[in-house]
């Protein structure tokens, strides 16, 4: 009872949806990078905190906007692509479970 070999290419819609999930995974990494950036700005003792405040809030709002842009696509139930989803998994001997396979 081996699982059938996964197809080499995916339908365009499914492919898009997978990349959307990748984007969702990368978003917090981008956020962390941007929020740690002020630490590299050198000695801030000369100037006040005004600039940093504006920077942090702008980054914050941009991250929220990006998340809001991605969320509806991620929440959509996977109808067409999902039916054959297991079939598209690489045969991962159950090691990682592969629940989020590309």
């Amino acid at each position: 009872m081996r699982r059938p070999r996964p197809p080499l290419f995916l339908a365009r819609a499914v492919y898009r949806r997978r990349r959307l999930r990748d984007a969702a995974r990368l978003l917090p990494v981008l956020g962390l990078f941007l929020l740690l950036l002020p630490l590299m700005w050198g000695d801030p003792s000369g100037k006040g905190a005004g600039q940093s405040v504006v920077y942090v809030f702008v980054v914050w709002v941009v991250l929220i906007a990006l998340a809001a842009y991605l969320a509806p696509g991620l929440a959509r139930p996977e109808s067409d692509g999902e039916a054959g989803r297991d079939a598209q998994l690489p045969p991962s001997g159950g090691k990682s479970g592969g629940q989020d396979a590309l």
Partner: protein
């Protein structure tokens, strides 16, 4: 500054303390109403708005406690931008929901997780040791935090009560704390322990918290807008003002900035109250997608005015003013009494909502992982007897009071000192110690119980030694000697410089060491130990939560010696009669059978265990089923799948096995049907002879007596007597023929229904009167609940009364108890009315339960009291015509029948129901 003081003094007169207390009480009463309305709507099944993502997002805002509402401004005044880290961490976690939160919510729903302790205990083989460990950590970390909330409420009362805002002392703040805590306990008990829900959700509380979330946001925004536009001269001027501040304490410290972002990110996943609203109270997974950006947006709005309030507050208020109370004192000092009142209610909301949810989460853990196991251990027979629901609810309520009492005690012990202000981060760091066990548990199949126990206990001990105990100050918990020279004089064990790391900030130091050692112990313990089968199966189903296939092969129960009826009895005592019966009914229907007792397939037992776990936690549910079931076992297939990763061959045989058991089940069902058919055929023969017999007996006597009468010359008294006998026998014949006619009309579906509106009370009354003629010599006690009976239904009242009469007179006839008692209970559920007739006799034996609704099925002849055994058959046909059902209810310690009718009978639907029945 002098004018400022004068203004405040004059305000004291404008804003009487009594008015404040009154507003506060009115607000609390309003919350009670909101929660009550929420519960009502949920009970009626009209959830609508309650289930919207907006409410879910707003309920998440209990992350922002009074520590945010008052403390953030103080934090900003002391150390500038750093306070934002507390909200940036959660933002990253939420916009990255696809990583962790999505999986947590999915697992929470699949496993019916009731708390964070339950999640960890369930993942590592339903281990109760882990449940206890996490519960202890949660209680220790949360108690000071609850105390902090109580302190903020008393302090804010103090601001209004005292003449000048700089003086916090409230004459009797002990009394304030006591009354606030008592009020919160009442609210939590009323709405948190109303029922033992299958999934531990509290709709009333969630809606109240959503309302409080709006109040605190509006309050903070109002104060902020007043400060920026009213006092600060607009946003541009405000930024310029912030720019000019050159306070060295305001410099961003890189390690603290990064460390605190990490800490708050860890905390938002592992705080018990966040877990409660995020996972346990989640009604739909999709809501998380919306909350992934809406909750960070809420956080931005909460924080956007914090820095301006702090800057303006520092400028305008006297030097000694408590920066933690600026949100209140700033509007007060500007003569804005109304605004201050709004701010006060906002702070009050933040504190109360946090305390309520935290208390529920902790009480669930304490009750499920400590009280219940101890109770079951002390009295093992309670799993089989006695009503457990009362016990569980009682232990919940006591736990709620205990948790709040701990908070009050801590508050009194620490004397409301400023040491509490720092406790927020300390509590975060303590609770975050469960993070490695959670993340490892949901992403790494190799994580084991031993690893989790080691990691948690080492992390907890290091946290307590390096952060919690030192937070009380030198000489309070740890002596100054230990601070200087380390434990036992070992320099490497100094609490704030473990292994010689002296240069670190104390908080970052504690965070660094507790997390490093915790994670290392978890990883090492997991690598070196070997998990037991239950753990491995749970591990697979947690890590592969999104893989449908692996969800199918879960931990199962092999066939043991338990009877379905015993399981039903146990389930009834935990879930309640109704919920248990409907659960068993659905499961039976899913197996393609009728009635209430399903086959004990592994799938059914796993479903039952998960359902029970929703009420008493995974470990307890597992233990209870294994008590009834003999031994806790996994199926052979599971063991095989676990034992070897190359399970492909086994999978095939497992499929064969499942097909085989499927076949066996089908064969058994066929056999059951066949048995029934044979019985019915025998009945058919019996029916004919029965009918001839029933017709012949009266006929014979009529013929005999009429013969005598035709001979003539009899005394008139005898003529009258014989005439009487002939009349009575003719009546009996008519009744029998009526019955037969009735049933054939009903069976053909050509019956004419006279629909009308009638109350259940009246119909039961009528039926009781009519049925009292059956065995009138017996004393018969009838128990009813008139308030629940007051339901009007649209149906054919005469027909329904006929059914009631039949059931009641059956009880009168056949109930063999010494003191016969009949309980009639009525309830309404999902557009249907259920009327249960339950007597205290010996009930109907299992093998006869399938037959009693057949024609001429009289179980015994011993107490024959007329009638031809058509009663229940007629009842069944009537109910089918009324669009309802009548069925035997097993497991009620007596004969019990349930009549279920629709609230409104739609004539077409009645016929349709009838048609499907016929097919």
């Amino acid at each position: 500054m002098h004018s400022c003081r004068r203004q405040v003094a004059s305000l004291g007169a404008k804003m009487p303390f009594n008015l404040l207390v009154l507003a506060c009480l009115a607000y609390v009463a309003f919350l009670f109403l909101v929660a009550f309305a929420g519960e009502r709507r949920a009970a009626m099944g009209a959830m609508g708005f309650l289930r919207s993502p907006v409410v879910y997002t707003l309920s998440l805002s209990i992350y922002c406690t009074a520590w945010t509402f008052y403390g953030a401004v103080g934090y900003a005044a002391r150390s500038g931008l750093e306070f934002l880290t507390i909200y940036l961490g959660p933002t990253l976690v939420f916009i990255g929901w696809w990583w962790v939160l999505r999986k947590l919510v999915r697992i929470g729903r699949q496993q019916r997780v009731t708390s964070i302790a339950d999640l960890i205990s369930s993942r590592y083989g339903k281990s109760n040791i882990l449940g206890i460990l996490v519960t202890v950590i949660a209680v220790v970390a949360a108690t000071p935090y609850i105390a902090l909330q109580l302190q903020s409420v008393t302090q804010s009362f103090g601001v209004f009560a005292s003449e000048t805002p700089e003086n916090w002392a409230l004459p009797n703040h002990d009394a304030t704390v006591f009354w606030v805590a008592a009020g919160l306990a009442l609210f939590t008990i009323v709405f948190g322990t109303r029922n033992l829900d299958a999934k531990e959700q509290h709709h009333g509380i969630v809606i109240a918290i959503a309302v409080e979330a709006v109040v605190k946001l509006v309050a903070l925004l109002a104060v902020g807008i007043f400060v920026v536009w009213g006092l600060g001269g607009g946003p541009v001027a405000m930024i310029g003002r912030i720019e000019t501040i050159a306070n060295p304490a305001w410099m961003i410290q890189p390690t603290r900035w990064a460390g605190l972002i990490f800490l708050s990110a860890a905390a938002v996943i592992s705080l018990p109250r966040m877990f409660q609203v995020m996972v346990v109270e989640n009604v739909e997974e999709d809501h998380l997608a919306r909350a992934s950006w809406a909750f960070p947006l809420y956080l931005v709005l909460m924080n956007i005015f914090i820095l301006p309030i702090a800057v303006v507050g520092l400028e305008l208020m006297p030097a000694g003013a408590n920066p933690d109370m600026l949100v209140l004192t700033l509007p007060l000092s500007q003569g804005q009494g109304g605004l201050a009142m709004l701010a006060f209610l906002g702070g009050f909301s933040s504190a109360t909502s946090m305390v309520i949810v935290e208390t529920i989460a902790l009480a669930t853990m304490v009750s499920n992982h400590i009280v219940m196991p101890v109770w079951l251990w002390l009295r093992p027979d309670t799993a089989r007897t006695g009503d457990l629901r009362g016990g569980i609810l009682l232990s919940r309520r006591l736990s709620i009071m205990a948790v709040l009492a701990l908070g009050v005690a801590y508050f009194k012990m620490s004397g409301g000192s400023n040491a509490l202000a720092a406790i927020g981060l300390v509590a975060f760091a303590g609770m975050a110690q469960v993070l490695p066990a959670i993340l490892g548990g949901i992403f790494w199949r190799g994580g084991t119980k031993l690893g989790a126990v080691l990691g948690l206990s080492i992390g907890f001990v290091v946290w307590a030694y390096t952060l919690f105990l030192p937070s009380f100050g030198e000489g309070a918990m740890l002596s100054a000697e230990i601070f200087r020279n380390g434990l036992f004089g070992i320099g490497w064990l100094r609490p704030q410089a473990l292994f010689g790391t002296e240069g670190m900030d104390p908080l970052i130091h504690a965070l660094f060491w507790s997390f490093s050692l915790n994670t290392a112990a978890y990883a090492l313990g997991s690598l070196l130990s070997f998990p037991d089968p239950v753990e491995r199966v749970q591990g697979v189903s947690f890590v592969n939560a999104f893989d449908e296939e692996s969800q199918a092969e879960r931990l199962g129960w092999t066939h043991g010696q338990a009877e379905p009826e015993a399981l039903l009895n146990m389930a009834q005592r935990i879930l309640g009669d109704d919920a248990a019966l409907s659960f068993f009914e659905t499961e039976t229907a899913a197996q393609g059978k009728a009635g209430y007792l399903p086959d004990l397939t592994p799938a059914f037992l796993a479903a039952l265990e998960r359902r029970l776990a929703g009420s008493v936690g995974a470990a307890t549910a597992h233990a209870m089923i294994s008590q009834l079931f003999g031994r806790a076992t996994v199926t052979v297939e599971d063991l095989m799948a676990v034992a070897t990763e190359a399970a492909q061959i086994m999978e095939y045989s497992a499929q064969l096995e499942s097909q085989r058991s499927e076949l066996t089940r089908t064969a058994r069902q066929l056999r059951e049907v066949n048995e029934k058919l044979t019985q019915i055929s025998a009945q058919k023969d019996a029916f004919l002879s029965q009918i001839s017999h029933e017709l012949r007996t009266p006929m014979t006597s009529i013929r005999a007596f009429s013969e005598i009468l035709t001979e003539g010359d009899l005394p008139p008294k005898m003529v009258a007597d014989y005439g009487q006998i002939i009349h009575a026998e003719a009546q009996r014949l008519t009744r029998l023929l009526d019955d037969l006619l009735d049933i054939s009309v009903l069976e053909n579906g050509s019956v004419q229904l006279n629909l009308g509106l009638a109350s259940i009370t009246d119909m039961i009354e009528r039926a009781l009167v009519a049925a009292s003629q059956t065995r009138p010599e017996r004393r018969f006690e009838v128990q009813r609940d008139p308030t629940r009976e007051a339901i009007f239904v649209r149906t054919d009242p005469d027909r329904l009364v006929q059914v009631f009469i039949n059931l009641i007179s059956n009880a009168r006839k056949y109930c063999d108890a010494e003191a016969p008692r009949l309980r009639i209970s009525v309830r309404q559920k999902g557009g249907r009315v259920m009327v249960d007739f339950i007597d205290n006799g010996s009930g109907i034996p299992k093998e006869a339960q399938g037959l009693i609704f057949e024609k001429f099925a009289r179980l015994s002849d011993e107490s024959r009291a007329g009638g031809a055994g058509l009663g229940l058959a007629i009842c069944r046909e009537i109910m089918a015509n009324l669009g309802g059902t009548v069925a035997y209810l097993p497991g009620q310690k007596g004969a019990a029948f349930r009549v279920s009718v629709p609230l409104r009978l739609d004539p077409a639907a009645g016929v349709a129901a009838k048609e499907t029945l016929r097919v």
